[in-house]
């Protein structure tokens, strides 16, 4: 049987969800037998090289680059999963949604007690991507097929969900594995 292809990305997240995936520990060696990783921070594949069965998304969208990457994932993956509270609901970064973006920038680059900024300039170089007015959960940008809650979802949650999907079983997670943080 051909190995399933899996892609992963971190958008506006903290990488904790990817770390949780690593927390499957030695099962990672089993996972590598089950799947081939395509585009993912865990290897060097920068753009999709083939169609993927599953795409795992960590983090919501806080800048234009996040949106581009997320749309690209939708285009190349059969099943897209929002992994963790950030992808599912925006998470902690979405706490900035109630505050005008300018105030967040001013606090970081003008007002902080250790800021040294004689020109009063806020970072704005064309080399850095534009921030969105607020942080968006992934399903407000593209269609998402599954949501795995948790901050992060536990290694067991990720393992059970992936194995079910990749072996064509229904994703029926026991109650203890579905946790919001």
């Amino acid at each position: 049987m051909a190995k399933a292809k899996v892609a992963t990305t971190s958008l506006c997240g903290c990488f904790g969800c990817h770390m949780s995936l690593l927390d499957i520990d030695d099962r990672i060696l089993k996972l590598v037998e089950l799947v081939d990783f395509n585009k993912s921070p865990i290897n060097d594949i920068k753009e999709f090289t083939e169609r993927c069965t599953v795409g795992l998304i960590e983090g919501g969208c806080c800048n234009e680059e996040n949106v581009r990457v997320l749309r690209d994932f939708r285009k190349h993956c059969d099943i897209l999963i929002s992994v963790g509270d950030c992808a599912t609901m925006g998470g902690i970064p979405a706490m900035r949604n109630t505050i005008p973006l300018k105030e967040c920038l001013d606090e970081a680059y003008l007002n902080g007690p250790t800021v040294h900024n004689p020109s009063g300039q806020i970072p704005n170089d064309p080399e850095i991507p534009l921030l969105l007015n607020r942080v968006y959960p992934c399903h407000e940008v593209v269609k998402i097929d599954y949501h795995l809650p948790g901050c992060p979802p536990s290694a067991d949650t990720l393992w059970e969900a992936l194995v079910a999907l990749l072996t064509d079983k229904p994703v029926a997670l026991p109650y203890e594995l579905i946790k919001y943080d």
Partner: protein, 479 residues
């Protein structure tokens, strides 16, 4: 003035370095590098949006900055909040539980970085075939080493779970203390494996030492430069990752700052804003923004401390200092060696703590006179981490200032990128994949935060696009 023939080389994304990073390189028509920069392209605004939140929520909230070293943020915030509740003199059980959590995290983080990320470069070479230069390649050629990496990380993560309640984003530290102790049953599970862990630590240290000494001619100048170094040290000058006062030295070892209390950090450190990066550029105020920048992390800590208070790591430190005749070591690639000394140190500390009966104590929380300001510093795996909060009488945070470890290494990482671009890319007719990896290797030596997951199973995705001044793509290389 920039020539119209100027070319722009973009490496994107470099990594998640407190968010996304990318490198831009400007070349003239002879491919001479005129500028090379590491840009940090993500902004989240934590300082502003924690305002209004109750202070006791902050230790669990701010760790969501980073899923790779959440314990550091969890503990730095909790230590700051100790001051708010007047509980900064913790009970022995609380302080030792927090220390165990912290050493567990340093242990897992250093193991992860070394085995999963750095070892492919060191074992196979910077220019090795892309197909094998990753952790899967390591697993195929050195299966024992790969399994050790996975199991050491697991051990550290389990310690975090036993002290914080959860492997990632736990809740163990609370203002004035901790919410659980370590049961005998939990302790015994860890004691069973600690000797194995220490053996593996010694092996990992040997890999790092052997690599550096065998390749000294190329490793010593690679992305290297003289710099100041900063960390906290204990009152007696010992390395201490959890608590202490600030010390900074210059490239020759002369003290610039010593025993500066965390509460005075803002009198000695400031952060410059530059328009081309969301990450600020910290510097020592008395020297100024131009020359006051400094390095943090394992290399800086080994350089600034007078000694390490665990015997095996101290012996390893002495060996390390011999390389530079007792002067500060300014070799960027020596970060790996320094990191492995700290891995061994964390292992020794974990062993000592596990044998300490205080961990089974039941006096977990203290309190004293309420304050409205709390400042704390810890040494995160990647370097000195500052947390500073002000709280109003309704217990709401009204001000937050965070200087995270990777921020202090912003200027050094930029210097390393410039140096490698100058030494290895400038004047070359073609940019090969191997050359790109040289830039990664230099950034990676610093183990920049959030990139660790990118690093986790090997390497950072890199793309370089050569664009002429009209925006036409001349060349595109991807790995």
């Amino acid at each position: 003035m920039a020539s119209t023939k100027q070319k722009r080389v973009i490496i994107e994304p470099v990594t998640r370095v407190e968010g996304h990073g990318k490198v831009s390189i400007l070349l003239d028509e002879k491919n001479t590098v005129t500028q090379a920069r590491l840009h940090i392209v993500e902004f989240r605004g934590f300082e502003r949006f924690v305002q209004g939140r109750p202070f006791w929520e902050v230790p669990v909230l701010v760790q969501r900055l980073c899923g790779i070293c959440p314990v550091s943020h969890h503990l730095a915030a909790a230590k700051a909040m100790d001051w708010i509740v007047g509980g900064e003199k913790l009970t022995p059980t609380a302080e030792k539980m927090r220390r165990l959590m912290h050493y567990g995290q340093t242990f897992q983080s250093h193991a992860l970085h070394f085995f999963h990320l750095a070892s492919p470069d060191l074992l196979f070479g910077f220019d090795a075939d892309v197909a094998i230069r990753n952790v899967i390649g390591v697993a195929a050629k050195y299966p024992d080493l790969a399994v050790q990496g996975v199991m050491m990380r697991k051990y550290g993560q389990e310690i975090i779970k036993a002290t914080a309640g959860k492997k990632i984003h736990g809740t163990g530290a609370i203002p004035g203390g901790i919410n659980k102790n370590l049961s005998i049953a939990e302790r015994d599970v860890f004691l069973k494996d600690i000797d194995q862990m220490l053996t593996w630590c010694r092996g990992a240290l040997k890999v790092a030492v052997d690599y550096t000494t065998a390749n000294l001619a190329t490793a010593a100048p690679f992305g290297s430069f003289d710099s100041n170094h900063l960390s906290i040290v204990r009152k007696d000058g010992s390395m201490d990752l959890y608590d202490g006062n600030l010390r900074a030295i210059d490239a020759q070892g002369k003290k610039i700052l010593d025993q500066v209390a965390p509460q005075d950090y803002y009198k000695v450190i400031a952060e410059e804003v530059r328009p081309w990066s969301y990450m600020k550029f910290p510097f020592i105020k008395s020297i100024g923004p131009k020359d006051g920048w400094y390095r943090v992390g394992p290399l800086a800590r080994i350089n600034t401390c007078d000694f390490i208070d665990t015997p095996e790591a101290e012996a390893a430190r002495k060996e390390f200092m011999k390389l530079t005749d007792g002067k500060p070591n300014n070799i960027t690639m020596a970060y790996h060696w320094a990191r492995m000394i700290e891995l061994l140190h964390s292992g020794e500390k974990i062993r000592d703590l596990l044998n300490d009966k205080d961990l089974q104590g039941t006096d977990l929380v203290t309190k004293g006179d309420r304050r409205d300001e709390g400042i704390a510093i810890v040494e995160a795996p990647r370097g000195t981490l500052f947390h500073h909060y002000r709280v109003n009488k309704d217990d709401q945070v009204v001000m937050a200032n965070l200087i995270v470890s990777t921020t202090s290494n912003n200027e050094p990482m930029n210097r390393a990128v410039q140096k490698v671009a100058q030494d290895h890319i400038s004047g070359k007719p073609e940019i090969t994949e191997g050359l790109l990896n040289h830039i990664e290797v230099a950034i990676r030596a610093y183990d920049p935060c959030l990139s660790c997951a990118t690093h986790a199973l090997g390497r950072m995705p890199l793309e370089v696009i050569l664009v002429d001044s009209t925006g036409t793509v001349i060349d595109r290389k991807r790995k």
